[in-house]
């Protein structure tokens, strides 16, 4: 099998256009390429697999219904899907729809939940291995406090004020952490961005 066919980063606007026309094979391909990442994202935000599965279904339905309104200039198709998934997951989180949380969730330190480097990932078949390695290493290069601030905003939908309150740190400190963290990620991930 051709490897690139299964990579989320390779989803192109043409595939989306075929999905918009009701091409079920195109949808099948889109799903295979993107669902592992979008599901991982939903699980990370909601911290509940059942909720994440339900959310994923809603997101794909919304995606194919809105796909004809997708504009290529607003970033890659995958970026569009990630944004859609994240924002729906955070809406759901805020609505408190998430049922009983896994007991493992708790301290803020657990927001630092990344792939342990070197550990083989059984879903690498689907995943964009190189991209994963790059993002993983970019994240691990960040000082823990910066990574934590970025993740609290991105995965838990907190504003800098809320993060500051949660961590009992001055707002300015949190803003700086996010700015520095994002800046470093921007530099580190430059090679993978078109």
């Amino acid at each position: 099998m051709e490897v690139s066919r299964n990579q989320a980063s390779c989803v192109d606007a043409a595939l989306l256009a075929r999905v918009a026309k009701g091409d079920i094979r195109a949808f099948d391909q889109l799903y295979e390429q993107t669902s592992p990442i979008l599901y991982a994202l939903a699980v990370r935000v909601l911290n509940n697999r059942d909720d994440a599965a339900e959310l994923l279904q809603e997101v794909y339905v919304e995606a194919w219904r809105k796909v004809d309104r997708y504009e290529g200039q607003r970033g890659s198709p995958m970026a569009w899907l990630v944004t859609l998934t994240r924002s729906r997951a955070i809406d759901r989180l805020r609505a408190g729809a998430s049922r009983a949380r896994d007991v493992s969730r708790g301290t803020d330190e657990q927001t630092v939940q990344r792939v342990r480097s070197g550990a083989p990932d059984p879903f690498d078949d689907y995943a964009d291995r190189e991209l994963r390695v790059l993002v993983e290493s970019a994240l691990s290069e960040l000082p823990a406090a910066q990574q934590q601030a970025v993740e609290l905003a991105f995965y838990e939908g907190l504003t800098h004020t809320e993060i500051a309150a949660r961590l009992k740190e001055p707002i300015g400190t949190i803003k700086t952490r996010i700015k520095l963290g994002m800046n470093k990620l921007r530099t580190a991930l430059r090679p993978v961005r078109s």
């Binding site: 079920i24 669902s35 990370r44 342990r116 921007r186």
Partner: protein, 292 residues
């Protein structure tokens, strides 16, 4: 408003960390035509969309896909169903000018338009037959898809059963361990040694130690994740450290260990990170330390 104040805001905007009024201010600044901020924003948003690649992949439950495939078919019923095609065909035949009775076979040649109509009809039939074949292939492909999904669900169930078995074994182990801990707790001589974190301040541990039978139960929490090839090693320290065993941490970053025989005259306990299998003497950083 100056452009400088927005440079920081752009990075925060991309991961939606701004407060509503700050967000609005940045949006209107970008809308007012600042190309620099617009470009930076696009770049940061791209970075944000890459963040999930740093997450551990999760197996997506198979039923998600089967539900979605069904919903997709409902949302996009075939734009031209077979019945509609049939209706169209008969309409096409209806509208084909009939050959006049007297024309006979030669009439076809006498009236080229009619000959053309036959050709068109023939092509139409061929296209129809071909499209039926495509539909058939599609149905077969979908059936195959369904089979794959079912097979996936079966293996999911098998995996779940295996998982339950593992969990049961783990629970049994835990119960046995708890019983052993209870025995410690009942011992009148039992001592508790608290260990505090050195590298990570939130890390800690305690050791339940019975000096009489020299047994100990050790428990550590909030331990930093172990890099591959590394393990934690507990040391009983007298004049020099003696290994009391190695332990790994679980997903909750906790470690537990039973020590069968703590060396006599021990004053201190410490935990260091060592290569897998442990070392005769500590070589790595100390993570926990506590005094008897």
């Amino acid at each position: 408003m100056g452009h400088e104040q927005f440079e920081e805001a752009v990075a925060l905007y991309a991961i939606e960390a701004l407060e509503p009024q700050e967000r609005a201010a940045l949006e209107s600044h970008v809308a007012s035509g600042c190309q620099e901020c617009r470009a930076a924003l696009a770049e940061y948003q791209e970075v944000a969309a890459l963040l999930p690649y740093g997450l551990r992949s999760q197996p997506v439950p198979h039923q998600v896909k089967s539900h979605l495939m069904q919903a997709f078919r409902r949302d996009f019923p075939d734009t031209e169903s077979d019945r509609e095609k049939a209706v169209k065909m008969s309409a096409a035949i209806e509208h084909t000018p009939r050959a006049p009775a007297f024309g006979g076979f030669f009439g076809l040649f006498a009236r080229p338009a009619l000959g053309l109509a036959c050709v068109v009809l023939l092509i139409g039939m061929t296209v129809y037959v071909l499209s039926l074949r495509t539909d058939m292939q599609k149905v077969l492909a979908e059936r195959q898809q369904l089979q794959t999904t079912l097979r996936g669900e079966l293996s999911d169930l098998r995996a779940q059963i295996a998982q339950r078995d593992r969990e049961t074994a783990d629970l049994r182990k835990e119960v046995a361990q708890r019983e052993e801990i209870m025995t410690f707790m009942r011992s009148p001589n039992m001592k508790v040694v608290a260990l505090s974190g050195l590298q990570a301040k939130s890390a800690g541990g305690f050791l339940l130690f019975d000096p009489q039978n020299r047994k100990a139960f050790f428990y550590a929490f909030n331990m930093p994740s172990l890099p591959p090839g590394k393990t934690y090693q507990l040391w009983a320290i007298m004049d020099r450290p003696v290994s009391a065993g190695t332990f790994d941490t679980d997903a909750g970053r906790k470690g537990r260990m039973l020590v069968d025989s703590v060396p006599g005259d021990v004053k201190k306990f410490a935990v260091s990170m060592e290569p897998q299998g442990g070392m005769p003497q500590p070589t790595g950083h100390l993570y926990l330390v506590g005094q008897l």
